[in-house]
């Protein structure tokens, strides 16, 4: 009996984890290109406030995260194009959300012993004990995010990489920016559900950032990021279930392996760019040995 329950938990964890890994990788690719690493941390903390606040009033934490995340995006969305380098503003919002989360967590944990344990779940995620209901919601939300990105992916990439020309071509920069942030909020919510607020960012950031360092073609890079993410999650879940340390939240494995992967990708990037015999990329005077055929 215990074996059956464990295998069901394992299956649930794998299913939920895989979904989140894929969604995080795809969203993470654009996150890396749009330089929103810091903003995604802010959304993680907003999710924190959302989850703990929801738990405090007896609502499903996932719902709280999605609602608060989307709400924050809509309020701050008008600044989406100017988010690069807005470290102070983002940091202050992030701190406020974190402060709210800390408050709610405190109040929630004090209200009962079981609540205290659940509070830990928010910090470290509940991948190992996630309910079937939440998995289905995660799948649905994940599918929604991916579907949206399939539709807007091309103009979003254009806008992220070459906004001047994209704007001239009629691509709605601000609208796409807001939509992307909304998708990021949803992706963050489901990641936080699985891995907890402390470590959700590692799944959103590191696999995609590593893939970008390895690859070149957009679609291939996204596929690579998803592969990395899924592999890391599978490894983590397996180690969690069958490895020596059962009390360690799976988030640890994910952050550990994804950081390691990122390091390798950085080394790879250095090696590649070191061995290429090309002009340094300066918009400077060209040396005359360049021949144009």
């Amino acid at each position: 009996m215990e074996g059956m329950i464990r295998s069901e938990l394992f299956a649930n964890a794998m299913l939920g984890g895989t979904t989140v890994a894929v969604v995080a990788a795809v969203v993470g690719y654009f996150l890396v290109l749009r330089a929103l690493a810091f903003a995604s941390e802010a959304l993680t903390d907003i999710s924190f406030a959302g989850a703990t606040g929801a738990a405090l009033i007896g609502v499903n934490p996932l719902a709280g995260m999605v609602v608060l995340g989307l709400g924050a995006v809509l309020c701050l969305g008008q600044f989406s194009e100017r988010m690069r380098g807005r470290d102070i503003e983002i940091g202050i919002v992030l701190s406020f959300a974190m402060g709210l989360g800390v408050l709610f967590l405190n109040l929630y944990a004090h209200s009962s012993a079981s609540h205290a344990a659940a509070g830990v779940g928010v910090l470290f995620g509940s991948l190992m004990s996630v309910s079937v209901e939440d998995i289905l919601i995660t799948l649905a939300l994940g599918a929604l995010v991916i579907a949206c990105l399939v539709v807007i992916g091309r103009p979003l990439l254009f806008a992220s990489v070459d906004p001047t020309v994209a704007e001239v071509r009629g691509v709605p920069l601000r609208g796409l920016g807001v939509i992307f942030l909304a998708l990021l909020a949803i992706a963050t919510a489901i990641s936080v559900l699985m891995i907890g607020i402390l470590l959700a960012v590692s799944l959103l950031l590191a696999p995609a950032a590593s893939a970008v360092n390895f690859g070149r073609r957009p679609f291939a890079t996204i596929a690579l990021a998803a592969t990395f993410g899924v592999a890391i999650v599978w490894l983590g879940v397996t180690l969690e279930f069958f490895g020596p340390w059962h009390h360690v939240p799976v988030g640890f494995y994910i952050s550990f392996f994804s950081s390691f992967l990122y390091l390798i990708s950085l080394v790879w990037k250095r090696l590649i760019s070191g061995s290429e015999v090309r002009q340094p990329a300066h918009a400077d005077r060209e040396v005359s040995h360049h021949s144009h055929g």
Binding site: R154, R216, A283
Partner: protein, 257 residues
């Protein structure tokens, strides 16, 4: 002139940036297929004019016509080669991908690749002599190579009007001439109207039909030998400016170029 034949028409246009009036009472017509150089000192409104033509900003007064219609973002008839400011994230994609945006980057959905699309891009790259760099990450290209890529990107949508914002700014004289003759070659054959913003008229002299000179909130349009003279520019600037011809080149002295 029949107005629908004009690529660009400016009627009594005043352009303001914030509280500064950059240009006032502009009147000019650019015919289809013309190659026009837009010159003038910094801040005279050259880039701003291009932005107004693209629909990125509206004139405070007057009317602008592009092929008979008001400027509007997303006008497929205009190709734009912006002054390239390196966006960090552009560096990781292949040049081919960056150029490909010019074809269909604005369309929804993932888009099918396909041989035809690839061939179209290859042809555009070949025309500007950078086909051999298609697979190279954009960030590894030199300034001149990037310029050609962005030109290919703009030409891919087969525009009728090509706007280039200071494409020669970071190139030495040799490569500046290369780019200008390239623009001339690709556009003349197709009858594409060209407005090219530059600081130095000399690489452009062999190719341009007319000059549009912006300075001191005013503009003057005409043939190079009419516009770039001591009298003409002094009148424009409202102060003493001298045009000197030396070593087969024109130098404007006394004005902030």
């Amino acid at each position: 002139m029949d107005s629908s034949r004009n690529a660009v028409e400016l009627r009594d246009v005043t352009i303001r940036l914030g509280r500064t009036t950059v240009q006032a009472g502009m009147d000019a017509e650019i015919g289809e297929g013309e190659f026009v150089a837009v010159l003038g000192p910094n801040g005279a409104g050259k880039s701003t004019l291009l932005k107004a033509l693209l629909g990125l900003l509206r004139p405070a007064e007057g009317s602008i016509g592009v092929f008979g219609r008001s400027p509007k973002l997303g006008n497929r008839q205009i190709g734009y080669v912006p002054q390239f400011h390196s966006l960090e994230s552009a560096m990781v994609l292949r040049s081919r991908d960056i150029v490909g945006f010019g074809l269909d980057g604005h369309r929804w959905g993932p888009g099918l690749g396909g041989k035809k699309r690839r061939e179209r891009i290859d042809r555009a790259l070949d025309e500007v002599d950078v086909l051999h760099l298609a697979e190279v990450p954009f960030g590894r290209l030199s300034g001149g190579e990037r310029q050609r890529m962005i030109l290919a990107q703009a030409l891919l949508s087969e525009p009728s009007l090509l706007l280039l914002d200071e494409p020669l700014a970071s190139l030495d004289i040799h490569h500046a001439q290369d780019i200008v003759s390239l623009v001339n070659r690709t556009c003349r054959g197709r009858g594409v109207t060209v407005l090219l913003v530059a600081h130095d008229v000399n690489p452009l002299l062999p190719f341009v039909d007319r000059i549009m000179y912006l300075a001191n909130q005013r503009c003057r349009v005409g043939k190079p030998e009419e516009v770039i003279t001591t009298d003409s520019l002094s009148a424009l600037y409202g102060s003493r400016v001298e045009v000197v011809r030396s070593l087969g080149r024109l130098f404007v002295i006394g004005a902030e170029i």
